[in-house]
């Protein structure tokens, strides 16, 4: 099993519903977020291109945050999801430094927090909160090893890219272009 997410940058309108849904579902403290929107504008008028991306933890296959954690609080669970055990985290910040995507933040309670791919919802057979609420259906989630999963089907028919592949972390967010 290998959970992954595909984000259709042509369909995303940047409404931030995924951000709010995540904050609500996961009780993210005020002023913080586990997923966010990036609006990338390139070129100069009238030749302007815009790309909107819903970003979150990439749940990398080769995750530097798990490797650098001195206590083992950062770990990988089934499906390749990178998680943090709160009462093992000492808040040293090493994993925050190690992430090329700046996907982790220091929770006001002290431990480090991040996207969990809503593993508590997956256990109940539901999809992630961000995917469920997306009004344009631009987020696809599922098991990459299952050819019939939403994410596998989305990746089969479209061109895609990952962010900063040169960082060597083998990220698992795929941006359909």
């Amino acid at each position: 099993m290998r959970y992954a997410m595909a984000i259709d940058t042509k369909k995303c309108v940047g409404c931030s519903d995924c951000v709010v849904a995540c904050q609500t579902e996961n009780n993210v403290p005020h002023g913080y977020c586990r997923d966010w929107i990036v609006e990338n504008v390139a070129g100069s008028y009238p030749n302007v291109e815009i790309e909107i991306r819903s970003e979150r933890c990439n749940h990398c296959d080769n995750s530097p945050c798990v490797r650098c954690c001195p206590t083992g609080a950062s770990h990988i669970i089934e499906g390749g999801i990178v998680k943090v055990t709160h009462n093992e985290c000492i808040g040293c910040g090493a994993c925050i430094q190690s992430c090329p995507y700046d996907a982790r933040y220091s929770h006001p309670d002290g431990y480090v927090d991040k996207c969990t791919f809503c593993d508590h919802r997956l256990a109940k057979g539901q999809s992630t909160a961000c995917v469920e609420v997306c009004p344009t259906n631009c987020l696809y989630f599922g098991d990459l090893e299952d050819p019939n999963s939403d994410v596998s089907k989305a990746l089969k028919n479209r061109e895609w890219k990952v962010l900063a592949p040169e960082a060597g972390t083998k990220p698992q967010l795929y941006f359909l272009t």
Binding site: V19, E39, E88, C99, P100
Partner: protein, 313 residues
């Protein structure tokens, strides 16, 4: 024109717009760790070379600074932790892939070792000293008997500690300025140099100061070479590292790096030490203090600047 905007209102403290997770505590800790490593290394070295008599400060007096530096450094590190009550989790596991785990365990051995070393010289340096308890006297006798083994262990652990202060940073590939293997050996050299400077300052013997100052000149030479080596490596690497190097070559850290680290922290004290060796009278505290400050500024610059550099996408 190319610009990138966050429109979700993401503005997480200490992460946006650029990372600033590690503050003054980390450079202080790295500096004190390097300083302690430097003093310990040469205390061990001169003991093994049987120079205890000639190099009394390096072997017997300067090591008093080591436990103090390590305890202060560890306290700074503790202040940096955001989930402080769980710090003991460091010692419930050994994680070979994590430099911080290596560091935590190294300090676990180095700190007591440095204390035993100091304790083994207490009676010799302070004849009126009394351990009060018989068991402590026996422990002292044991420590004195195994001083040479301790010296070897101190040299070895000092190298691990010194290199670790650099690897702690260089292991992060997400921060291009830190992601260079030169950093481990560079921080070790800088630590050895600051250790020598502190010892030199404490020493009252002319002969000892001369030996230490010669060694320090070698360290400064190596350090300058490694810094140039590091910058050349960056300029020959990928875009993110070229940009990282430009923080020191025209960017916002240029002045503080070249003035306080290179000129006042390395070149000027080296010139003063050469003048002193040539027979001119230079008060020893001037080059020593400059080297100590230069090393501290260097740690601050590297930690601060490194957090600004990142992958672009």
């Amino acid at each position: 024109m190319k610009e990138e905007l966050f429109i979700s209102g993401r503005n997480i403290p200490n992460i946006d717009p650029y990372l600033n997770i590690w503050h003054w505590q980390i450079p202080i800790y790295l500096y004190l760790g390097g300083l302690a490593a430097g003093i310990m290394f040469f205390a061990g070295y001169f003991t093994i070379m049987r120079k205890e008599k000639d190099m009394e400060t390096a072997v017997k007096w300067a090591p008093f600074l080591v436990p103090a530096a390590l305890v202060l450094g560890l306290f700074a590190l503790f202040l940096d932790l955001k989930h402080q009550l769980y710090f003991w989790r460091l010692y419930t596991t050994i994680r070979l892939e994590s430099p911080m785990s290596w560091g935590a365990w190294t300090l676990m051995f180095v700190t007591p070792l440095s204390m035993v070393w100091v304790a083994s010289y207490m009676k010799e340096l302070f004849p009126k000293w009394d351990w009060k308890f018989d068991i402590l006297n026996k422990a002292e006798a044991l420590a004195i008997k195994y001083r040479k083994s301790m010296a070897w262990a101190m040299m070895l652990l000092a190298v691990v500690l010194g290199v670790y202060t650099g690897i702690l940073l260089s292991a992060f590939n997400a921060r291009p300025l830190w992601n260079t293997s030169v950093l481990g050996i560079l921080f070790l050299t800088s630590g050895l140099s600051t250790g020598l400077a502190a010892t030199m300052w404490m020493s009252k013997s002319k002969y000892e100061r001369k030996v230490l100052s010669r060694l320090d000149l070698i360290m400064i030479g190596i350090e300058l070479f490694l810094i140039i080596h590091m910058l050349m490596g960056f300029l020959a690497a990928s875009e993110v590292q070229i940009e990282a190097a430009h923080l020191f070559l025209g960017g916002e850290f240029t002045v503080v790096f070249w003035v306080f680290v290179i000129i006042l922290g390395l070149v000027f004290p080296a010139v003063l030490e050469i003048l002193e060796l040539k027979g001119h009278h230079v008060p020893v505290w001037i080059p020593a203090l400059l080297i100590l400050i230069g090393g501290l500024v260097f740690r601050f610059v590297m930690v601060e600047a490194g957090q600004i550099t990142r992958f672009l996408y």
